[in-house]
């Protein structure tokens, strides 16, 4: 008897961005069945793009109309600017991913591809607004399952299948750890909702309760898998390399955004009493990620693997902001995510363009001379690499500046030094990409059968948008930091 269950009032507007992308996913599935083959790609891509635009706009309105932040739908979901800003980033990433993926040479299942992409974004947006352990797990599985399939969507390629399987197994393991940890936390406190966990810990004096701490550690580990922070990063290079490049582009930006935003939310709101422990744990994870990501990237030849390790190291940088456990850190994380997402998608988009041109995997060797052959993409890639390396005039520089400031504000000068050292190491491989683009004689290229594909205007548009965000976030830092500050202030601390 449904009627017997007391249903809470539902604030539909609070979850509207997630619903918009979910709706687009449903429509794409209909397109897969109803629209004839030749119009299918265009219709599905347009539907997905429309879904992302709607989600973007709704999230922006939601940001505007949630200046105070409140828990809605039986306190399962949090309606605040913090989640809305994350939704804006994810929706933007999704939109660019549609532009990038449009000319991907996949056979069949294009509409399903876009359905899964929209669904994954919906899950991430939902995850960012999760307010208890159940919605957290729901959001996490929602987008993870979509991504498992997306990674393997290029079913003709063995690497793609391998990537999907690997991600499924490792990701499933990560989810299990997270779930087990959630159960322990629930067992220790008797609460699911984040702020009530903190309240329960405070009132029952559980701050150093063993079960709670084991649960917290397992939750952190589970989230570490999604953030791809070391030592939970093993899947990242293989999956990023094997998955279709446009999927990798989307994952590298959006998954990281959602997972990091949620990590900060749960640590700050549910476990403030244990901050003395988890700040150190997160700092250690950050240092491990910086070390592993940067050192392993030094020896990569394959650009997708290189960027995968680079994304691990950036997870390290952003975790420094989380470990700082202060308002500056919250601001730093949210600000950092904006240029980082743009640069990450943009860089993979350039790789995708080169991949389609050559019909083979992109390495440092066959990237040679691309800067001169494709001035726009070359200059864009150059911008992204400088941004990753934290050089002005890109938002990557100010992101690092904010992160280091947050760490110093926390009193951790040593973490600043580690970050600075990691940046110095990272320069070597980022500059190697620029060197390949501009300073090596272009190789005798074996173009893919059928010659070079025509100029991919949509992809170039997406890349341009990414450049605009990466550079614009440097000059327009004040408004973006204001956005981040207001977003952070709506967290229930």
């Amino acid at each position: 008897m449904i009627g017997a269950i007391a249903r809470p009032p539902v604030d539909w507007f609070a979850i509207s961005p997630a619903l918009a992308t979910l709706g687009a996913a449903g429509l794409c599935l209909m397109v897969a069945v109803l629209v004839p083959e030749r119009a299918r790609r265009a219709t599905a891509a347009f539907t997905a793009a429309a879904g992302f635009v709607t989600a973007f706009v709704l999230a922006a309105v939601l940001y505007d109309r949630s200046p105070d932040g409140e828990s809605v739908i039986a306190a399962a979901v949090r309606r605040d600017r913090y989640a809305a800003l994350a939704a804006i980033i994810v929706a933007g990433a999704g939109l660019v991913a549609v532009l990038v993926s449009y000319s991907e040479r996949t056979k069949g299942h294009v509409a399903e591809f876009y359905a899964l992409l929209s669904a994954a974004a919906g899950g991430m947006i939902f995850l960012a607004s999760a307010n208890n352990l159940m919605t957290l797990f729901l959001g996490l599985e929602w987008f993870s399952i979509s991504l498992y399939i997306l990674c393997a969507v290029d079913a003709d390629r063995e690497r793609s299948l391998e990537a999907g399987l690997k991600y499924l197994i490792v990701g499933g393991f990560g989810s299990a750890v997270l779930l087990f940890g959630s159960a322990l936390v629930y067992g220790a406190t008797g609460e699911l909702e984040f702020s009530r966990i903190a309240f329960s810990v405070a009132s029952n004096d559980l701050a150093h309760d063993t079960i709670l701490l084991i649960g917290l550690a397992m939750v952190l580990a589970g989230l570490g898998f999604k953030v791809s922070a070391a030592p939970f990063h093993m899947w990242t290079p293989d999956v990023y390399e094997g998955a279709p490049t446009s999927v990798t582009a989307f994952m590298s930006a959006a998954t990281k955004t959602a997972a990091l935003v949620l990590t900060l939310r749960i640590l700050f709101t549910a476990f403030p009493q244990e901050a003395d422990l988890w700040t150190i744990a997160v700092a250690v994870i950050a240092c491990a990620s910086l070390a592993v990501g940067n050192l392993a990237a030094l020896v990569q030849r394959n650009i997708k693997r290189l960027l995968a390790y680079s994304s691990i190291s950036h997870a390290g940088f952003m975790l420094i902001a989380v470990a700082s456990h202060n308002a500056l850190g919250g601001r730093a994380l949210l600000y950092y995510l904006i240029p980082y997402s743009a640069m990450s998608i943009g860089a993979f988009a350039v790789v995708a363009a080169r991949e389609r041109e050559l019909g083979q995997e992109v390495t440092l060797d066959n990237l040679a001379g691309m800067g001169w052959e494709r001035p726009l993409l070359g200059a864009a890639m150059w911008t992204f690499m400088l941004g990753f390396a934290g050089l002005p005039p890109t938002g990557g520089f100010l992101g690092k500046f904010y992160v280091f400031s947050a760490a110093y504000d926390h009193g951790w000068l040593w973490l600043v030094i580690v970050g600075v050292a990691a940046t110095a190491v990272s320069l070597y491989y980022y500059l190697a990409v620029i060197r390949a683009l501009y300073m090596r004689p272009s190789a005798e290229l074996q173009f893919a059968a059928g010659g070079q594909p025509p100029r991919d205007l949509l992809l170039q548009l997406g890349v341009l948008a990414c450049v605009a965000v990466a550079v614009g976030s440097f000059f327009g830092v004040q408004p973006l930091v204001d956005l981040s500050r207001h977003a952070f202030q709506t967290l229930p601390l």
Partner: protein, 492 residues
């Protein structure tokens, strides 16, 4: 923004705008180099306008403009010039960059759109370094300087350019990142990143962070590992910019930032830095004397000269600082001329090796005259502007200890030896296998580039006080001068 400060911002934005123009606006290939040249000349024009607007009796920061950039950390776009040194270094930048652009035009670099765009971008970044009054802004321009240099060397450089760029970038970035950490610590402690209102900081560690960046960029012995490769493998005009201006940015950093914000650090580390500078001076001079090619001599002499300039700065008295600033301008012009001459000779003889050259004076009067004049000024013959600068430096550093002055004087003798060796190996002696009849005299185009620079040197020789007299009176950045003054008084 204050109403009077537009000229400084213009000096930064004109070349950056020119770079964007070249990159973004489609134009016929033949227009690109002349457009860049025109922008460079306009830049000189704006600098002359800035000199005309300057109130030389007033001192302090002038032509300043300020805009808040992000306020939660107290970062602002704040630029301006101190008449005593920023103004002259900006002038040096505009002149040498214009000469470098002209040289590139004359040499006909390929991919002109990228090349000239980067040269203009570099101009804007260097002017930014010399005028920034906010530490983060300074850092931004400092790093922005590296990007075009990296590409200019890496794309248009000599055969071993890739190794040269890697060394150059790794060395300088390690230094710069230490500076970034220092900037953050200083800024968060002071609550603002402004160099003007931030006040002094007594921490030695912060001082060392800044010093690391400047020491590597200058470079100071023993952090000069990148120097020979970078100076040899760069295109000649980029070497000219590197040794002529970029190294001055490092010395400027000590003068503007370390002296005014970290008087305690300067005081504590004066002796080690003086010792390093003296070693660098002697060591660079000896290596220059043994170098087998033109660029090697100029490169190592650059190392030596920077050691000398650092001796002058860390004499921490008016005389030494005066001499150092004058010598910065002198050496900027001298090394620019010498590197471009080296490039000109390498174009003719396809080598810069001394044992393959020789006898260039015969039948090439213009080349001989320019090289001879510059060389004579460079070896600090009495009456030349370099003599004035070096004399002031030695007199200044003598007060810190006679030892430094002795090293300096000995190095000046060595300078005479290596410059004369360079002159005779190229111009005189028996013509080597590469000095064929096909190697022509300097063309009018080259003369048009080099003559103004040499003329400036001769002008300064006649009137070095144009620069040196104005340094001490006015330009000491505010709180520092007194602080350094007192610390000097205590020690002496």
């Amino acid at each position: 923004m204050s109403a009077h400060g537009w000229i400084t911002t213009t000096l930064i934005l004109v070349p950056l705008g020119g770079a964007l123009l070249l990159w973004l606006v489609p134009m016929p290939r033949v227009w690109i180099a002349p457009t860049a040249m025109l922008v460079s000349l306009f830049e000189i024009g704006f600098w002359i306008e800035a000199v005309a607007r300057f109130d030389f009796d007033r001192g302090g920061l002038q032509e300043a403009s300020k805009l808040t950039w992000f306020k939660d950390l107290g970062v602002a776009y704040h630029v301006g010039m101190f008449e005593g040194f920023s103004l002259w270094l900006v002038g040096l930048t505009t002149v040498v960059m214009a000469a470098a652009v002209a040289y590139g035009m004359w040499a006909g670099r390929d991919n002109p759109r990228a090349y000239y765009g980067l040269m203009l971008f570099l101009t804007g970044a260097i002017v930014g370094v010399f005028t920034a009054q906010d530490l983060l802004l300074f850092y931004v321009f400092w790093e922005a300087m590296l990007i075009p240099l990296y590409v200019l060397i890496g794309v248009w450089g000599g055969p071993r350019r890739l190794q040269a760029t890697i060394k150059f970038v790794i060395y300088t970035m390690v230094g710069s990142l230490l500076m970034l950490a220092a900037v953050i610590v200083y800024g968060l402690q002071a609550g603002t990143f402004s160099m003007v209102s931030g006040g002094t900081n007594a921490s030695d560690w912060i001082f060392l962070g800044f010093a690391a960046a400047f020491i590597v960029k200058a470079p100071l012995f023993p952090f000069h590992g990148w120097l020979p490769d970078a100076y040899r493998e760069s295109p000649a005009e980029v070497s000219a910019v590197l040794s002529g201006i970029v190294s001055k940015a490092a010395a400027f950093g000590f003068l503007r930032i370390c002296f005014s914000l970290f008087p305690v650090g300067v005081h504590d580390f004066r002796t080690p830095i003086l010792v390093l500078a003296a070693i660098g001076l002697a060591y660079g001079s000896l290596l220059a004397f043994r170098a087998p090619d033109i660029r090697g001599v100029v490169a190592y002499s650059s190392l030596a000269q920077l050691g000398l300039i650092m001796l002058g700065l860390f004499a921490t008295n008016d005389l030494g600082i005066n001499g150092a600033v004058l010598q910065m301008v002198n050496h900027g012009l001298i090394s620019a001329v010498l590197f471009m001459l080296a490039g000109a000779i390498e174009r003719r003889a396809a080598t810069g090796q001394f044992d393959l050259l020789g006898g260039f004076a015969r039948g090439r009067p213009a080349l001989a005259t320019v090289l001879m004049t510059t060389g004579i000024i460079a070896l600090a013959v009495p009456g030349s502007t370099a003599f004035a600068g070096e004399f002031a430096i030695l007199a200044g550093v003598f007060r810190q200890g006679w030892f430094y002055a002795v090293v300096g004087a000995a190095a000046i003798v060595l300078a005479a030896m290596y410059m004369l060796r360079l002159i005779s190996a190229v111009l005189h002696e028996r013509p080597g296998p590469s000095a064929t009849e096909a190697a022509l005299d300097l063309r009018p185009g080259e003369l048009a580039i080099l003559t103004p620079l040499v003329a400036l040197l001769l002008f300064l020789s006649a009137w070095p006080a144009a620069i040196s007299d104005r340094v001490s009176a006015a330009a000491q950045p505010a709180p520092a001068a007194s602080a350094i003054g007192t610390s000097t008084a205590e020690t002496t």
